[in-house]
Symmetry: C2
Subunit: 683 residues, 2 copies
């Protein structure tokens, strides 16, 4: 039965210790439970990720048996600090067990946090007293109990609080009218809260860690281009100087990162010709991922592109335009790479003594030798590979796109990335792993800053909703930062092969707004390049991987205007600068996807509405959580389409949208959170 029913039960406030050891193990003395703490990546095994200036929300289930009043503090500190900061946690929902507190990391580096919770007997007394007093059932004994508890608190207190507590304790039993004032005094209750009984305090068993990085770690728009295709003159290959001349074009579209495929000397042995043909002609430039020739390897520059001085010039010219150059780190060698002759111990040998090339049976990649990461000469190999990163960091590069990291040991990355970060805490490593989720997630856990995603193959509304919900909620959002690409030099999906302009726009909008980092492979993307090697292939026809292309940037069909508008929207709206804060919205049309992005401080709200059908007009009524935005239920408010500067007045939760793929395939609405007070005549 329930005489001590749902909110009663009786615990003495003090948690004194029993004498003998059989009943005295730490587990048995644990009265408060603190569990399901987040963010926490695999029980503290890995760091979770944060960004300077972006709120970190810590949550936990905290409870005790019975009906005590609990209190909890979040304790957090930067690794350079020795003292904890404290902030009070709050119940997420009254009478449940989930507590939350946010903190705002304002420095790069590792933040540690943990939780302290305790039982607050005076708070329980206040709660019960208030109920009794309301029905005239508060007795003198109740007042004496309260005074006793306050006295205990005062004995633990110091400073001005001690006096106030002791005074209140003295007055409490004397006069029941005064007692009510004392019991209701919130300031006194706050004071009492913090002078806790050490026997009633529990500390969470772990200190958890968040790696807080610069803004660009989570928010970046990438533009990929092949330098050798950058020449304005179809008669000659492009160079770093040509790339430099194109910086204004790229920066003008609002990108943050200019990513160049490998810029190193290209092997000659087994060089591939156009469309991956096995018989290259003398003039074929080869594949940039077949790294290394007698001219040099991963720390050298392909002489066709220019000199190291040219490269430095490019890096600096890009920086002046707010662009970061990203290099491609592909840990593999052409048969001509100096490593192959100088360090044969770093490669796997076949029984005939030859070095094993890459293969994916029955396919052979004789132009590529993988490293043997578990060779007996592992230490010198790993150190050398690390030194490749450090070499380019020294040259001013902090952004790296890492080729196929999932074919190298996790342990290598965990070690290597930690080492690199010691030298350059701002380094950004984008993992190019298109594989099974546990593997992609593991790479992020061991240290990759960002990761390519399955976005290219995530196409319809349920699939997009499910995938980006997973990416934008715990636990995945705590360690995995998505970077969404509609196409890459290796990925031209069936959807893109159709070459519909509306599809190229809608995929761009989805990538750039669902994910805080995204990228396009240009100039093909803005020029709607979509010819495939064959109808069922995700390979481009005449791929730049194997030949030099020339592009007409002034093609009137170019999407550069749309791209610039999207990147401007991203830069001007904090809500689009995090992959968190995403919420999918109901709309009564399967061909339209709608979602909101909200900034951590709730001050910036973006609503995206995208027509997934590139051929037909689609319309529907979208339901908006406007009261969560602070608007009243029937409020009139304005939304501005950041893609075309159109403004609309909306009202209430349900609003109509219509998207004609010939005109407007997507809206990126900024919501004006001020209600429109002046009512129209018809309103």
């Amino acid at each position: 039965m329930n005489p001590q029913g749902k909110r009663s039960g009786h615990r003495r406030a003090g948690g004194r210790t029993a004498g003998k050891k059989s009943l005295d193990s730490p587990n048995l003395r644990q009265r408060l439970v603190i569990e399901n703490v987040r963010p926490d990546v695999d029980g503290g095994r890995f760091l979770s990720k944060g960004v300077v200036g972006e709120t970190i929300s810590v949550e936990a289930d905290i409870y005790s048996h019975g009906h005590d009043e609990l209190a909890a503090d979040l304790l957090y500190r930067h690794e350079s600090e020795s003292e904890w900061h404290r902030a009070p946690m709050q119940l997420v929902v009254m009478d449940e067990d989930r507590w939350r507190c946010e903190f705002n990391p304002d420095e790069r580096g590792i933040y540690l946090f943990t939780i302290e919770a305790w039982i607050d007997p005076y708070a329980r007394w206040r709660r019960d007293f208030a109920v009794k007093a309301a029905v005239g059932e508060a007795s003198d004994l109740d007042l004496q109990v309260g005074a006793h508890l306050l006295n205990q608190v005062a004995e633990r207190a110091s400073g001005p609080g001690r006096r106030a507590l002791a005074d209140a304790a003295e007055r409490l039993p004397l006069d029941s009218a005064d007692a009510t004032n004392i019991a209701l005094d919130q300031g006194l209750a706050r004071e009492a809260r913090d002078w806790k009984d050490p026997l009633l305090v529990a500390r969470y068993e772990r200190e958890l860690s968040v790696l807080v990085e610069g803004k660009k770690a989570a928010f970046s728009a990438w533009y990929e281009m092949f330098p050798r295709s950058a020449s304005p003159d179809p008669g000659r290959p492009g160079t770093f100087r040509d790339v430099e001349a194109r910086l204004d074009y790229v920066a003008g579209m609002g990108f943050d990162v200019l990513y160049l495929p490998p810029i190193h000397p290209i092997g000659v042995a087994y060089r591939k010709g156009p469309n991956s043909s096995l018989n290259a002609s003398a003039g074929d430039p080869g594949c940039p991922w077949a790294i290394g020739s007698k001219v040099g390897g991963h720390k050298s520059i392909n002489p066709d592109l220019g000199t190291m001085a040219d490269f430095r010039r490019l890096v600096n010219a890009a920086k002046r335009r707010g662009l970061n150059i990203a290099l491609d780190i592909a840990f593999q060698c052409s048969p001509d790479h100096p490593y192959v002759t100088e360090h044969p111990e770093w490669f796997r040998k076949r029984p005939d003594g030859s070095i094993q090339y890459a293969e994916n049976p029955p396919k052979k990649y004789q132009d590529v030798h993988p490293f043997d990461f578990e060779t007996e000469a592992r230490e010198s190999l790993w150190e050398e590979l690390k030194s490749i990163f450090l070499f380019w960091i020294e040259e001013g590069v902090s952004f790296f796109r890492v080729d196929n990291p999932h074919t190298k040991p996790f342990a290598f990355w965990e070690w290597c990335i930690a080492e690199i970060r010691k030298v350059d805490p701002d380094v950004v490593l984008l993992a190019e792993a298109f594989t099974r989720k546990p593997v992609m997630y593991r790479l992020s856990k061991v240290g990759f800053t960002q990761s390519y995603t399955n976005f290219a193959w995530t196409r319809d509304k349920p699939t997009l909703t499910e995938y980006f919900t997973e990416l934008s909620t715990s636990p995945v959002m705590d360690f995995f930062r998505p970077n969404a690409w509609p196409t890459t030099p290796d990925i031209l999906t069936e959807q893109m092969r159709r070459g519909e302009r509306a599809t190229f726009v809608s995929r761009l909008v989805l990538a750039a707004t669902l994910s805080a980092s995204y990228g396009i492979y240009g100039p093909g993307y803005e020029l709607i390049e979509h010819a495939a090697l064959d109808p069922d292939s995700e390979e481009f026809l005449n791929s730049e991987k194997f030949e030099i292309r020339h592009w007409n940037l002034d093609d009137p069909r170019s999407l550069r205007g749309e791209i610039a508008a999207i990147n401007r929207a991203r830069h001007e709206n904090v809500a689009l600068q995090s992959s968190r804060g995403l919420r999918f919205l109901d709309i009564d049309n399967d061909q339209i996807i709608a979602y909101s992005k909200t900034s951590p401080d709730k001050g910036n709200v973006i609503v995206c509405v995208v027509n997934l059908d590139p051929k037909r007009v689609q319309e529907g009524t979208v339901r908006l959580p406007i009261t969560d935005w602070g608007l009243s239920k029937g409020a009139k408010f304005r939304v501005y389409d950041l893609l075309n500067d159109a403004a609309y007045q909306w009202q209430g939760q349900s609003n109509f949208v219509r998207l004609d793929p010939k005109v407007t395939t997507a809206h990126i609405f900024k919501v004006d959170l001020a209600e429109v007070v002046r009512r129209s005549a018809s309103g």
Copy 2:
């Protein structure tokens, strides 16, 4: 780019060690990842739960970088064994990372398990060789590689396997036709699998534990009755002898457990009268939960019910009928309890020296003194409370319903239950905690065998579906065993207060089939007792908690026939003996809920269809996963309604059901898994 694309990549098979320590930490040498292992309650902090003879399914994500072929064994052993049993794990879905293996615990006690995974280079060679051979690309070098790998295996092998492996290695490079046979030889591959390279083996970091208990721990039907209301003569109160006379009635309905509210002497001080009135008359029997009088306490018997000898007789008479007597353990005292005077140190005192009674402000329960579990005399108190369990275990009682465990420390239960189990491993403890989920779950984690649930307040289809899905899937199903009650002496929900017969039947069927353990509070339940103290109260009018009632068991409205049919169905169908194996089924009517229960060996399938509307006929088409049951897509098959012995022939996935609450509120169909081969003329 992807020359080492989705299924290529190159790793040397051996995992040799680097020389120097900087690259040699255990983390950095870990090549295989084993994670997300289940069952696992809070990272190994608590035992998960199993039942003798019921399969335990162990799953884990297991993967490496690259494209190695992996193998994994489940290792498990009973705590009394020193050697592991091994069973090979299998991929749940091809080309994904989830592995599974089941084992069948055939003894009570703790089973330990862990996982060993390793890289199998010969298996990878076979895979690649098969692809190459199929396109005529297998080379002599490939054969030499295979021979080398087989030789390495043979060197590690012993016994007859060694010879076979060495022979195969010798023959492999000699003749490519023979080589193909060797490469395809599955027996050889199985042999090679098990002689693993110690450098390529990873062991999961933890050994996890499952407490395996007897069948009744998970599967039991409980019948609660007040002994003092068991008299067939309205002129006198019931006794243990009357309960004995009623055993055939209870056993006849098919119950496994007969649960008696506290049978101890009842306090006189502040004794409550009918309907919880504060002014009891001389003849009022008092509330059984106000335990203890000068006659005795928790180890004594209320003289009005009989003697200890009578009780022993009852226990034995019940056992002869397959019934277990369950006692109520309520750790609280009336003011007259001998503990109060003999051990005042076990109670909390108020400032005036009086002992604090229970309260839930503004309500006071002056007839009940809670123990102070954290008193300085904690050790003697805890030992005494433990001894209460042991006393009744000594008297032949193994089933206990524990009153309000959530108002006592988790640490007390964890210690006490572990101690009790040492004495009686078959003890079943049912936690009566109606409170927030984390607290209820914690009680199960610290050792309670079963738990009351929120079933009574879980009423409509979405809520039932969500709640029982949570209870029947990991992680909750791994530690929490539900026991569902439509009513209790404290809980008469608004739904039940209406007194509709169809509701009493449908709630019974839901409780008895959604949950492997359930209970009813009789004889009120079968007699559709539903009068409430007031219209908004969950308290019964004239509750047996405060007065003696007399019941007419022969009332023609009695549900005893329905109850007997339901309990018979439960005893005859393994699928209903576990709370796992539950799957909700689509049906196009919100007022009908449909679900299947499947036995672990898939040999027994039950389909329940329940009309949630007690007033109107409801009908609909239920979709059945018949191919998962081994039936063909358009199969004809028979279903038998275990409630009324009706048989139906169904066909295919979609079948029509119609439920008239005046006639049949629910079906419990047993599916005949043999297809009906003889086709009807119209078929």
